[in-house]
């Protein structure tokens, strides 16, 4: 393990540079830009969950005074290939195109079929009513088990399952099967003293960012365009829009506005290509903003799942074999997070025999998108629940059973590579020593514990660092800041350059002002973009050393950088005065011009982040209400650059996980119409539902990052699902393996147990 290092700026909690604009209402989010002559676009959505589109007639809408443009799928250029989109959101470009605007078929209720732009939002809504669409309604399939039946209606009649041998001859709704194997599971179950097998169900849930999708697009007559949008990745939005509209990418400028939450859901385009096409047709800037109802019905939730888990354990707690089978709802188009779900599920443990199989299944629901650690909450809910039940049966403490099997440095991860330094054992030990874990469980309550794991990714990032003429510094990066990352970039730059935090500001550049950067996702920003910022600062240091060397008449290698100054190496021309960054900046004209550093990289070695969460809950047997009495989140951050924002990720992820465990779910009627498409009925946690969320940041530095950073954004949502479930089981004595643990489900389960 790396030595603990004393940093001057890293690990402090300064106010973020974008903060004042956000507490005063000045900050501009996706729907905030106002342009001269701007008009408003709205989308017409399918009233059917599965239907062929026979015709779309826009003419009556276009006749309404004040309507400036209307379009349907036919207005988009065709010929979009089947190339994969990549990143955390699966699927192909052609599916993305149809998800942006349906062509000849709709596969979920709420899918976009046409759009208009009019002088006011109210007028645009009126115009939508004048669009005539003729449908041929098809039968609907909503449940993954039903969708896998041979008699099920097919969403895509050309879909042949990938990943099974021999390749099936007939099409089905199963897009692909992902399998990971090790050892011999049957033999492993033979060796076990206890074997358990259970079914687990997790509902479809939404990211629930408070800002609905919004953008403003302005096309000009020369073919160029500017788009302001709320996005986790403006470069990827530019690429997708240029493909969907057949536009020259060089003509497109995408500006990432402030973003009001994303959690993975703002990594894919919905509105931007539509707004831009409406702008081209009308010659006016077009603003589009979804209603909350549209956000629920037509933007990416995450998959609901149905699965089975089996575990074999020896009396001493050693896991001898484990097996998971899990079907994921893809929604109307392929792309459920089956790969990461399968790769993650056993990652915290050393298991000699396992088999995991995950299926990507088409159903008539909205196309899923990435949601914080995509796939892992569902698969790990199953395993962290069954492991807990095994521990109960064997009378082993839940931390001890995890310690017995914990992965550590050198363990071969279930998906192939050997783990470098990781911090799972450290998290478990931190839990064991935590005062809240040592404290007795409150009278009548139950305690539950679970672990979480996420790989984290590196990917491509760019950064430029400019030194102004007085030595103050601007960091330009390409990663939209979704939770305080500009503050982290400033801290890393301050540490590297040895100048004060207050003299550094970070900005997110548009697609024409900074180098390519992948989405803010995969918990990669502080790690990968941070690495680019550090390297860009090191570039500045190298340049400064060489300028100082020239000034002093010594060789470059005779100058060192110390605490923000160029100094001569010991023994070299001791007469000269150290030169600060400000000195260097003031003399820049004489030493080669302005000082700027840059770095573009494809970051390798994103360190995995493990977590352990525990909670005490009280269950009211009459109402089924679960009160979360306390919640403790422990997670390895590698090194927390700005600890307050690391805690923020842990607390926010915990709240989302608690919400998913207790209340959140998509409810559909038999026709595939979501019945709770609003915050009143899709109930995310409110302040009075939650206790304070205690955080303990474990720091096992990631050797691949200059300051030891591991991504922290995604891991926090995983453990709460099983931790809450395990706590409810201990509070009530009844295991309920279907989420959410909503009051009616708990009352029903307690009644059933009572009768039995």
């Amino acid at each position: 393990m790396a030595e603990a290092v004393d940093y001057k700026y890293i690990g402090t909690r300064p106010v973020r540079p974008d903060g004042v604009d956000k507490v005063t209402g000045r900050a501009q989010y996706g729907a905030d830009p106002i342009l001269p002559g701007m008009i408003h676009g709205r989308i017409l959505r399918s009233p059917h969950a599965h239907a062929m589109i026979k015709s779309v007639n826009l003419s009556r809408a276009l006749e309404l005074p004040g309507v400036h443009a209307a379009l349907s799928g036919a207005d988009f250029p065709g010929g979009i290939g089947d190339e994969a989109i990549g990143g955390e959101s699966g699927g192909t470009m052609s599916d993305l195109a149809k998800n942006v605007m349906a062509r000849d078929k709709v596969v979920y209720h709420g899918q976009a079929v046409a759009a208009v732009a009019a002088q006011t939002p109210q007028l645009a809504l009126q115009a939508l009513k004048l669009i005539e669409v003729e449908y041929e309604v098809l039968p609907v399939v909503l449940d993954v088990r039903a969708a896998m039946q041979e008699s099920a209606p097919l969403l895509d009649p050309t879909c042949i399952t990938k990943g099974v041998k021999p390749e099936p001859e007939k099409p089905s709704n199963v897009v692909s099967v992902t399998t990971f194997n090790r050892g011999d599971v049957d033999e492993g179950f033979e060796q076990a003293d206890l074997v358990l097998e259970r079914e687990y169900i997790v509902p479809m849930a939404h990211q629930g960012y408070i800002e609905p999708h919004g953008c403003v697009a302005q096309a000009n007559e020369g073919g160029a365009a500017t788009v302001w949008c709320s996005t986790q990745g403006h470069f990827e939005f530019r690429a997708a829009t240029s493909k969907l509209l057949g536009m020259n990418m060089a003509d497109l400028k995408f500006i990432a506005t402030e973003i009001g939450g994303g959690f993975g859901g703002k990594t894919v385009v919905y509105l931007e290509p539509v707004a831009l096409l409406l702008s081209q047709k009308s010659g006016k800037p077009v603003k589009m903003q979804m209603s909350r109802e549209e956000v629920f019905r037509a933007t990416g939730p995450t998959s609901g799942t149905y699965g089975t888990a089996k575990i074999g354990v020896k009396k001493d707690g050693t896991i001898t074999a484990a097996k998971i089978w899990m079907a994921f709802e893809a929604g109307g188009f392929a792309g459920a997070p089956t790969g990461p779900a399968a790769m993650a599920v056993f990652s915290p443990y050393t298991i000699e025999n396992f088999k995991v199989e995950t299926l990507d299944v088409l159903v008539n629901k909205p196309k899923v998108a990435a949601y914080r650690a995509p796939g892992a909450p569902q698969s790990m809910h199953a395993f962290e629940s069954i492991l807990d039940e095994a521990a109960d049966e064997l009378g082993i403490d839940p931390i001890d059973i995890r310690l017995t099997n914990a992965a550590s440095e050198g363990t071969t991860a279930p998906y192939g590579p050997k783990f470098p330094t990781i911090g799972f054992v450290e998290c478990l030990e931190a839990a064991k020593n935590h005062p809240s874990y040592k404290a007795p469980v409150p009278e009548g309550a139950g305690r539950g514990l679970a672990a979480g794991f996420w790989f984290n990714v590196g990917m491509q990032s760019s950064a430029e660092v400019h030194v102004a003429e007085n030595g103050t510094v601007t960091v330009v990066e390409g990663s939209p800041d979704i939770g305080g990352s500009r503050a982290s970039m400033c801290l890393m730059a301050a540490e590297t350059l040895g100048v004060e935090y207050e003299s550094i500001r970070a900005v997110v550049g548009d697609t024409q002002s900074t180098g390519f950067s992948n989405v803010t996702g995969g918990s990669r920003t502080t790690f990968a973009t941070g690495m680019a910022v550090v390297q860009a600062c090191e570039d500045i240091i190298t340049q400064c050393k060489s300028r100082a060397a020239a000034t002093w008449g010594v060789d470059d290698d005779q100058v060192e950088w110390e605490d923000g100054h160029c100094v001569p190496k010991p023994g070299v021309n001791a007469e000269v005065k150290p030169l600060s960054l400000a000195d260097m900046a003031a003399a820049a004209a004489k030493t080669g011009g302005p000082i700027s550093g840059r770095a573009s990289l494809n970051a390798q070695g994103a360190g995995a982040s493990f977590s352990v969460n525990f909670t005490d809950v009280a269950v009211d047997p009459d109402t089924g209400h679960v009160e979360v009495l306390n919640f403790t989140a422990i997670q390895d951050a590698g090194k927390a650059i700005h600890p307050a924002y690391v805690e923020g990720q842990m607390q926010g992820g915990a709240a989302q996980g608690i919400g998913w465990a207790l209340n959140e779910e998509y409810i559909f009627n038999d026709d595939g119409v979501m019945q709770n498409a609003g915050f009143l009925d899709y109930r995310i946690p409110v302040a009075s539902d939650l206790p304070m969320i205690d955080c303990e940041i474990v720091e096992v530095p990631n050797p691949s990052h200059p300051y030891g950073v591991r991504g922290v954004g995604e891991t926090p949502i995983i453990a709460p699902l099983a931790a809450i479930g395990n706590a409810v089981a201990h509070a009530t004595g009844v295991r309920i393996n279907e989420l959410p643990l909503s009051p009616p489900r708990i009352v029903a389960a307690l009644d059933a147990a009572h009768k039995a």
């Binding site: 989010y29 800002e211 909350r292 924002y645 990720q649 607390q651 926010g652 915990a654 969320i693």
Partner: protein, 157 residues
């Protein structure tokens, strides 16, 4: 339908504008007056992102019609900071890192300010229930509650 003439006071200043009869105060503020500090999270009264004060009462501006505000006084997030700079709540939200994406923040500050004006020494539970109409998906509320508690201490001093 023809537009209605409305005169109202916003953040201490008289504003006159024409308003569609069915237009919400939220739309009036954002689209007609360009005051985009007030946010829309739902448009149905469920998230509190659009919170403003109307004649001293905390309301969701998406549930009030623009025409209803004729002759009334409105306070929005744009009016919270004064001549001496940020309001204590704004300062405490920054110090406690009580915002991540920040889109819920204007609504929380308006709502918390209303609370502290009524009840300068609220308990944690009182703060949590008062703010239960304001949704935040990023923070888990922990740091928001602490910022409000700390602001209450400072304001009482």
């Amino acid at each position: 339908m023809s537009k209605v003439h409305v005169a109202t006071q916003i953040n201490g200043e008289v504003h006159e504008f024409l308003c569609e009869p069915e237009e919400t105060l939220l739309q009036t503020l954002r689209d007609t007056l360009g005051m985009t500090g007030t946010k829309e999270g739902c448009g149905t009264g469920d998230c509190g992102a659009c919170s403003v004060m109307l004649d001293g009462a905390l309301v969701c501006s998406c549930l009030v019609l623009g025409v209803e505000t004729s002759g009334k006084e409105i306070e929005t997030i744009e009016g919270v900071a004064g001549e001496d700079g940020l309001h204590v709540l704004q300062q405490k939200f920054l110090e406690h890192a009580a915002l991540q994406c920040g889109v819920c923040t204007p609504g929380f500050i308006i709502a918390a300010k209303a609370l502290l004006e009524k009840n300068p020494d609220p308990t944690e539970t009182e703060i949590r229930y008062w703010l239960a109409g304001n949704l935040c998906r990023c923070t888990g509320y922990d740091k928001i509650i602490r910022a409000v508690q700390d602001a209450a201490v400072t304001l009482r001093a």
